[in-house]
């Protein structure tokens, strides 16, 4: 069993597991941090951005002013933003049988994998994962396509040139594999390969392996996966949460007894407490509004935003924000809000019971109904006429490189009354803000990451007791910036097996058994004999059928009968297999006295017994035959007398066990 690691990003994993003749891709994360190297895509012409100076190396030898722009000492690529894809060269991606998706954030690279690699398999995901994943992809495509950029910068990617560039561009990895965003057509085609599954549904893969999603508690429909055969079990834990937010709680007990547990998607903010962050978010928001400023919240269109809105729902009245407009702007804002209300089965208990009343599970329905929260597909159209300040705007993309958020940055960045509050943990806020510097607007960083922290995960692992743990190498050492914090890493016995991008791990597995089914007819014909108390043996000689990785044993060839009668397939009687006569093994020893008595009964009376080092030699004088009896063998020396030999053989066999 092998694990191929195609992504080095611990929370946006992409691994391939080879297990019992199946090739399973675990998640398909797209590393979008690469877009931070690019210039923002403004929705309306931005004089500031267009006036940025081009970059020329200090000695003037390197002139890339068309491709690279300088802003506040940092260099950005002026081109449509590109993403860092999972590794495509490590193994032939067309051999992948299935892709298991754990949550909607971990499927964004799907079109790159399913569309241009010869992939012919199936993708498994839960319904909320598919629907919300589709929304996020749609949004991404929309963000890119509505502000097309003619220019595609490539010169800077030249290895020789890249070496000369200032950081962080200089250190960006595998830039030549970076790709532009996919098209909606590719998204649709990729998602048409998704087959929906429910929690605890058992899905058979080719009869060899069973996979099953478990609730992971992180987002709507998010799942961990169990990949198992009858004898081996691999757990894939990705983006799990033990906090009580909106999704169904995490199913921990089903992870027990794993041979291998692959651990990804831990919190990216191990030192930030989500509850504390939420409180800070609210108080900063209220403070800014009271001072007459606007609040900008760059966020994804699904996920934490539901919790933020729920929190605000309770907070608005008490903070006297009843008249402040809240705007949610995204091409998929409406869909996201609507979809969140229809997945009762996937929600926590509290929200489920609301649906029974029947009431919408999320209170944002009421915020919309009372006009406190308004949603718009973009800043164009209705929004521009209804827009009132001061207000709170939720909009994407959290990288601040594209989407409507770019417009608000340009609009509000110059005033210190306004505040931008970062809640998504995926991007470093300083990097995100870099192309907007110098900035007057206040910045508040309260990243809310509900995924497992190191304390929770070590407790979890203690409970579920996997034999081996595999995890990204980042989890095996403290974060670079906090190297003294040994509590911010995984410490396990045996130590976890770390992986990095392009690692190929041999998982420590020894398969010993396989399941075979004995058909009733054969089962009834078996004759067990008790060897020791509680242990019986039966010799099985049968015909083995292996079909779709299922093995059955039966007494004779009945499979023409198994064919459905309706099928008019002419099947020639198959050539029976060349059967290797089994070698019945004998076991036990022949007791001298009992054997002599038996011989006597069969009319062999003249026996001379001679003791030897290892046993006895019996000389049957009348028959001129020797029988050598030893602990682990019997030797019959008998000349041309077939009847006698047969009799003696049968008498000896009476005392032995046949296997």
């Amino acid at each position: 069993m092998k694990l191929y690691c195609l992504s080095g990003h611990p929370t946006l994993p992409c691994n391939v597991l080879k297990f019992k003749s199946t090739t399973i891709m675990l998640d398909c994360g797209l590393d979008t941090t690469s877009v931070l190297n690019f210039l923002p895509l403004p929705l309306v012409h931005s004089p500031r951005l267009s006036k940025l100076p081009g970059w020329v190396s200090k000695d003037g030898t390197l002139n890339l002013e068309k491709e690279l722009k300088e802003c506040a000492g940092r260099v950005f690529v002026d081109s449509q933003p590109e993403f860092c894809l999972p590794e495509k060269e490590l193994l032939d991606l067309s051999t992948i049988d299935v892709i298991l998706i754990s949550n909607y954030h971990c499927m964004m690279a799907l079109p790159y994998i399913t569309e241009h690699t010869g992939f012919t398999g199936t993708v498994y995901a839960t319904e909320p994962t598919l629907q919300i994943g589709r929304l996020l992809m749609e949004e991404l495509v929309n963000f890119m396509e509505r502000v097309p950029k003619a220019q595609s910068a490539t010169c800077w990617k030249n290895k020789e040139i890249q070496r000369m560039l200032p950081g962080p561009l200089k250190d960006a990895v595998e830039v030549w594999t970076w790709k532009r965003c996919y098209s909606m057509q590719e998204v649709n085609s990729a998602l048409s390969k998704v087959q929906l599954v429910g929690y605890s549904q058992k899905v058979e893969l080719f009869g060899a392996v069973q996979v099953s999603p478990l609730s992971s508690g992180y987002s709507l429909g998010s799942s961990n996966w169990i990949i198992q055969s009858h004898y081996e079990k691999v757990s894939y834990v990705s983006g799990s949460s033990l906090l009580t937010t909106h999704p169904q709680p995490m199913d921990q007990s089903s992870l027990k007894n794993s041979d291998v547990l692959i651990l990804t998607g831990l919190t990216q903010m191990p030192t930030a407490n989500p509850d504390g962050m939420l409180g800070e978010f609210c108080s900063n928001l209220a403070m800014t509004i009271r001072a007459g400023g606007n609040v900008l919240v760059p966020c994804y269109s699904s996920g934490v935003i539901y919790d933020l809105l729920e929190c605000l729902y309770q907070f608005i009245e008490s903070a006297n924000l009843g008249t402040t407009p809240f705007y949610f702007i995204s091409p998929v804002a409406n869909s996201s809000l609507e979809f969140s209300q229809i997945f009762a089965e996937w929600l926590c208990h509290n929200k489920q019971s609301k649906v029974y009343l029947p009431e919408p599970p999320f209170p944002h329905a009421e915020l919309i109904q009372t006009n406190k929260l308004k949603h718009y597909p973009s800043i164009h159209g209705d929004f521009s006429s209804e827009f009132r300040q001061p207000c709170v705007v939720f909009t994407g993309h959290p990288s601040l490189r594209f989407g409507d958020v770019v417009h608000f940055m340009e609009l509000w960045g110059k005033s210190s009354l306004n505040t931008i509050i970062f809640t998504e943990p995926d991007f470093s806020y300083l990097d995100a803000l870099a192309p907007y510097q110098p900035l007057a607007m206040k910045c508040v960083y309260c990243p809310i990451d509900t995924r497992l922290n190191f304390h929770q995960v070590s407790k979890l692992l203690k409970e579920v007791q996997p034999l081996h743990v595999v995890c990204p190498e980042q989890y095996t050492q403290p974060p670079l910036t906090q190297s003294h914090r040994s509590d911010l890493m995984l410490e396990l016995q045996p130590p976890p097996m770390p992986y990095r991008r392009c690692s190929v791990l041999n998982l420590p597995f020894r398969r010993c058994y396989e399941r075979v089914y004995i058909l009733p007819e054969l089962a009834n014909s078996l004759v067990p004999s008790e060897i020791k108390p509680g242990v019986s043996l039966a010799t099985v000689s049968a015909v083995l059928h292996s079909k779709d990785n299922k093995h059955t044993l039966q007494t004779s060839m009945v499979f023409p009968l198994l064919l459905p009668p309706s099928k008019k397939r002419k099947r020639v009687m198959e050539e029976p297999p060349v059967v290797l006569a089994p070698k019945p093994l004998l076991s036990g020893a022949v007791p001298l006295d009992a054997f002599l008595a038996t011989l006597q009964k069969h009319g062999i009376t003249e026996v001379k017994v001679e003791e030897t080092a290892d046993g006895h030699i019996l000389h049957l004088q009348a028959e001129d035959t020797l029988i050598q009896l030893e602990e682990d063998g019997t030797h019959i020396v008998c000349d041309n007398n077939e009847p006698l030999r047969t009799t003696l053989r049968d008498l000896v066999l009476r005392f032995l066990q046949k296997l």
Partner: protein
Amino acid sequence: MPEIKVTPLGAGQDVGRSCILVSIGGKNIMLDCGMHMGFNDDRRFPDFSYITQNGRLTEFLDCVIISHFHLDHCGALPFMSEMVGYDGPIYMTHPTKAICPILLEDFRKITVDKKGETNFFTSQMIKDCMKKVVPLNLHQTVQVDDELEIKAYYAGHVLGAAMVHIKVGSESVVYTGDYNMTPDRHLGAAWIDKCRPDMLISESTYATTIRDSKRCRERDFLKKVHESIERGGKVLIPVFALGRAQELCILLETFWERMNLKAPIYFSTGLTEKANHYYKLFITWTNQKIRKTFVQRNMFEFKHIKPFDRSYADNPGPMVVFATPGMLHAGQSLQIFKKWAGNEKNMVIMPGYCVQGTIGHKILNGQRKLEMEGRATLDVKLQVEYMSFSAHADAKGIMQLIRMAEPRNMLLVHGEAAKMEFLKGKIEQEFSIDCYMPANGETTTVTTNPSVPVDISLNLLKREMALGGPLPDPKKPRAMHGTLIMKENSLKLVSSEQALKELGLNEHQLRFTCRVQLQDPHSDNDTLHRIYTHLKSVLKGYTIQHLPDGTVMVESIVIKVSSSAEDANTKVLLLSWIYESVYRSLRVWQPPTLDIFLR
């Protein structure tokens, strides 16, 4: 031999009060727990004393499964759990769990508050009963205990309707509840995978009907409603608040929109608004089209359909009213019916099945004079139309489901005896499987023949698979020999050698030696070589080797030659072999039993 037993306590050769007991692999399961609309006495509920004469049912049942929220499938649940006594798990889907208590409460109100019956379950009992409910998701495998697992499939009959697959070891039963094999305007079609259950328990409401295309039926319905409205008549459509009501509402709503009609459509209030809300929140349980477009337009937000007030019934002019309940046996639909029955311009359309004993059933059978409570009679002058809109599988659909699931046995419930008989014949003929149709209280027993799962050592399996020939063909059957070790609860199949090793037994070798004398003047070596060449020419297809240590081996028989001490020309041939270790090629296909090799 393991057996599966099925006993209907209700719905055996009958429609109403569905309640079926199944015993499988030592587990007892109750499928549905419904009431009968046609009775007002004890016969209303299933006879639970069949399970036990005295006391609670908890220790006799491992679980209860409710297929959908119709009262003939869940109406007796609080009575069973709270009044007879059952504390085990009750499984149902989320929508059923949401809607079922509302219908139960409604049923209770009609029975207790309106009819004044006592000794009936209370509101509190409904709440306590619902606390025992464990929600089921579609396709989720739920482990009831270590051995019993259940899995729900989409049934399409009403919102949240499910079929269940019940499995213990390798034995299994599928119960369909009520289902529909054709998608309609708001629900999808039932689906199940090829799970090959030992028994398929199917409803058979429309056992003999093969319904015409849905489009024709809808056109017919709309035409009748339209005509009636045109001539100024009032149309009453008795429905149950959830289910067909939404289907017909969608139908009329789109028709009104298209034809730009102005006549009012009303929906009797109370349940209905709430009902539509359930449909909005459980939109994932509706059909593909509605799910796809719900963000743009939610099909359950009706523009033309308004809530009904009691006083509207006397308003002049045409109108269409949906009123509950569906079989005209009580409540608002009956009140309106009484008001409108005298006018031949009016029309009542019965869109679903009516149980015997209800007014719906009577007028459908052509009765024109009805005896009402208090000896009054009611002349029925209005037009009575029947349109089958209830979403049950018809004969074609039932056969289709059998083809999907490939059961080994079939059992029919929830239908009329005569119709079942017909379908039973058809099933037995077409699928060559046994089909049963027990009456209430009658037990059907089928023996199952489960295969035995065994752990085979991978070494043995690989060895046997490799022997299939130079190119292993996975489809070809192969002979295999091994030893089955039965220890406590484990069954392990290993090679004989491994069995010896694992059990700490020693191998006992049985050898035979036989001396043959012959006259040959050549040297020992030459004699041996001549024997070698001779055997080689005689025994084709065997492995014969001349080994450098002065032996010839035919397969595993060892031949040695030595000269006798007295006479160099007399050679002694020593033939030595281990107990039956000769390879044989079996060209005849028959079970390779030990006998052949012991000869």
